[in-house]
Amino acid sequence: MGVMGSFKKFFKRLFNKKNARIGIYGPPNAGKTTLANRILRDWTGDAMGSVSHVAHETRRARRREGVTIQSNGGSISLDIIDTPGLATKIDFHEFMELGMNEAESKRRAKEATEGVIEAVKWLENLDGVILVMDATEDPYTQVNVTVIGNMEARNLPLLIVANKTDLPESSATSIREAFPQHPMVAISALEGKNIDTFYDEVAKRFG
């Protein structure tokens, strides 16, 4: 840690500055909660929430305060917010196609809309964002474009995560090429692949 880093740490302690609030964002099923669970399991031994192949499994933002991450001989303490998947449309028929009955599908859709509203509201109260993208999907989704635009407008740090690199059809390169102005790390949150590089980047961007 350099002289500036030591000063920063000293003043942070002196004025008891709150932890940086970092939101985990992304479209539904990008692997946000899988990543949040990975982070918590690695550093607290706990988990954030359940995961599912059905979209909008996370329909309430979950917050974990004071997660201390060790990296490059130093440590940073963050408040992590796992947010519901952002979307511009939610059609209950899609849940029915996955085997849910109509009432259950409508309830899930209603809760998902509330989750999206909550995720959008959190955007205004964060110090930085980890934007999780599914590396098997087209990176130019509207959700990705909107989240990146909001972080750029507010001049807040952003780390892009190209997730699901364990899948053969994944292409982290297409994500890097789509948003070359932001740091990106390719991982598999499920398998823990390249997770140490991810923690190094988290410390660098949000520390």
Partner: protein
């Protein structure tokens, strides 16, 4: 499909703009906004869309905008707020407009008349 000029939207307050878009899209129109929306307006539009979703009636919107361009001026750094240059945006009902392919400078979409 309505092509909305920059001047038309510039006369509206942000909340009016979002209300106008939602109302038009719920009426089944597809809007092409010459100057697009700011990222903050896009987020507000997503939020308001969620409040309007009704099963069997309105499933939400399809929105397609190019990644915005940011001017990182010294003033912007000091105020922690950058000037964002917005670009063309297409918005329509989710059951009528579908994005086929999108990249930094090209949007391909399918419009259905159902």
């Amino acid at each position: 499909m309505d092509l909305v000029s920059e001047d038309r939207l510039a006369k509206m307050q942000p909340v009016e703009k979002i209300r106008f878009i939602i109302d038009e899209v719920k009426d089944g129109k597809i809007l092409v906004l010459e100057k697009g929306l700011t990222p903050e307006e896009e987020a507000t539009l997503i939020e308001m869309t969620m409040t309007q979703i009704e099963p069997d009636d309105f499933a939400g919107i399809e929105m397609e905008s190019y990644p915005s361009q940011t001017d990182k001026s010294l003033l912007g750094k000091l105020l922690k707020k950058n000037v964002v240059r917005t670009r063309l945006t297409v918005i329509g009902p989710a059951n009528k407009l579908k994005t086929l392919k999108k990249d930094r400078d090209m949007i391909s979409a399918l419009v259905s008349s159902k």
